[in-house]
């Protein structure tokens, strides 16, 4: 299995280390031809505006859209989730996204950095995993074709934090910042 990690900006190294830990060779993706022959792709955490900008300047934006249309398996964490979403709330006026995952996300929906938090999440089919949320996007709503794999109650009711629509997965949190590889395994097992 060949899995790429989009390596334009963000916590690329942690995702590469996670893949290594579960015995998958990761390739880093900075140029369009590096998308060839991939079975899966991880879009890491980072700043979604910076990554979106760099997708444009690197020439990856359209080729990646084509691979998504062909059904490439993708896991986006935090900024990666934002880039995959259909609707982005509280973003820049010109913020674009791939609309590969039918969810509405609110950028920095839990607040600024002083509100960043750690908690425990119950993931369907996995059990309790650590959830690290850094200036995280909050999933406000999901479309009918979206499976919710984990929810969190931040004092105002349960809402989704890990979702899947076919081959496309999105997490508000950062499984890659912990030592727990089970969310990555769950994604890889689906490929």
């Amino acid at each position: 299995m060949r899995v790429g990690v989009l390596a334009l900006q963000g916590d690329v190294r942690e995702h590469v280390a996670m893949l290594h830990e579960v015995g998958v060779t990761a390739t880093t993706v900075q140029r369009p031809e590096q998308l060839d022959n991939l079975d899966g792709l991880i879009m890491p955490g980072g700043e979604s505006t910076a990554i979106a900008h760099l997708l444009g300047t690197s020439g990856l934006r359209e080729p990646l859209a084509q691979r998504m249309a062909q059904g490439l398996a993708i896991l986006g964490t935090c900024a990666g989730l934002i880039l995959l979403s259909t609707t982005v709330i509280d973003g820049r006026l010109d913020q674009w996204s791939y609309a590969a995952l039918d969810v509405a996300v609110r950028r920095n929906g839990y607040g600024r950095q002083t509100a960043s938090f750690e908690t425990e999440l119950d993931v369907v089919g996995v059990g309790m995993v650590p959830g690290v949320f850094i200036r995280a996007p909050r999933i406000d709503s999901v479309g009918p074709g979206v499976d919710v794999l984990a929810r969190h109650d931040h004092g105002d009711g349960l809402h989704p934090v890990l979702v899947r629509q076919g081959a496309v997965w999105g997490a508000s949190f950062h499984p890659e910042l912990t030592k727990d590889t089970r969310v990555h395994r769950l994604f890889l097992d689906s490929i």
């Binding site: 900006q9 955490g45 980072g46 950095q113 850094i134 200036r135």
Partner: protein, 298 residues
């Protein structure tokens, strides 16, 4: 300081360092107003540092340099969606408390401002907001981490447009880490004493070969080639101060440094973005400076 409510914990070392992890491979730009902050965000900056004067102007104007006016920080927070950092004077924990109350995303306890305490840095463990601190060598970096810093930047010599000090500091930190990695366990006690650094942190670096927090580079970066240089020397992201808004064409310079930071090991990309950029900031020879900012902090 971490605190728990309803099963969630804020302010833990993991979430503080986590934001620094998210900034890796990016450019953090000094901005003095919302218009510059928008230019930075448009160009792909991962964060902005809100301050009243860029370091080259602080150097020119002289006088005491302090924390920025809260109104100016709020205006910049309202203008962009990316993280906003702000500077507090070394040891000035009351300025840091104000910045935390303003909900900035990172506090830079910075030698660019006039130090408020010549013996003690801020106890950064006491805060929910994370701190970045400058360092010229490994001992200084580990002392700051011991005090709770979650991100280290090599100091360089801010406001000069001259990368020579940043290179010196990065090379020094890396050489000292290599020395620790090759030492045997019984040598680490004496090395910790020489570095004047906490022994557990010295042992951790000896074991892992790198700092326990990300290492970024600051001070004197003013061209795409400078960014490529310091990233190849092991920096994980760059702070650019005067280098963008003191250049001839800030929009192009900002875009070029962002692209060079992502593709730092691809000389063809760095060459392309360096072409026809206009002049970089004028810069200064560091041997002729009256004030060496890097000597502030200890």
């Amino acid at each position: 300081m971490s605190a728990s409510h309803g099963g969630s914990t804020v302010g833990s070392a993991l979430v503080k360092r986590g934001l620094a992890d998210m900034l890796r491979g990016g450019v953090i730009m000094d901005v003095v107003n919302p218009e510059q902050a928008k230019i930075a965000e448009d160009a792909g900056a991962v964060a902005v540092m809100a301050l009243e004067r860029v370091p080259s102007d602080i150097r020119r104007d002289g006088g005491v340099a302090r924390m920025s006016d809260p109104q100016m920080i709020k205006d910049i927070q309202a203008a962009v969606t990316i993280p906003v950092m702000a500077k507090a004077r070394i040891g000035h924990f009351a300025e840091a408390q104000i910045l935390q109350a303003l909900d900035v995303d990172y506090v830079d306890e910075s030698e660019v401002l006039t130090p408020a305490d010549e013996e003690n840095h801020i106890d950064k463990w006491a805060f929910t907001v994370p701190f970045v601190c400058g360092a010229t060598n490994l001992g200084e970096a580990l002392r700051r981490i011991g005090e709770g810093a979650c991100l280290i930047r090599s100091k360089g010599e801010a406001g000069t447009g001259n990368v020579v000090e940043a290179v010196r500091h990065l090379r020094t930190i890396n050489a000292q880490m290599r020395r620790l990695a090759s030492a045997d366990a019984s040598e680490l006690f004496a090395l910790a004493k020489d570095l004047q650094a906490p022994l557990p942190l010295v042992q951790e670096v000896a074991e892992t070969g790198h700092l326990p927090v990300p290492l970024f580079c600051a001070g004197g970066i003013s061209t795409p080639a400078d960014a490529s240089l310091v990233l190849q020397l092991g920096a994980e992201a760059v702070f650019v101060g005067s280098g963008i808004f003191k250049s001839e064409d800030p929009v192009r310079m900002a875009n070029a440094i962002v692209e060079a930071t992502t593709h730092y090991s691809d000389a063809a990309v760095v060459a392309k973005v360096s072409t026809g950029l206009g002049s970089a900031m004028r810069g200064a020879e560091t041997s002729t400076l009256e004030t060496r900012l890097a000597e502030r902090g200890w």
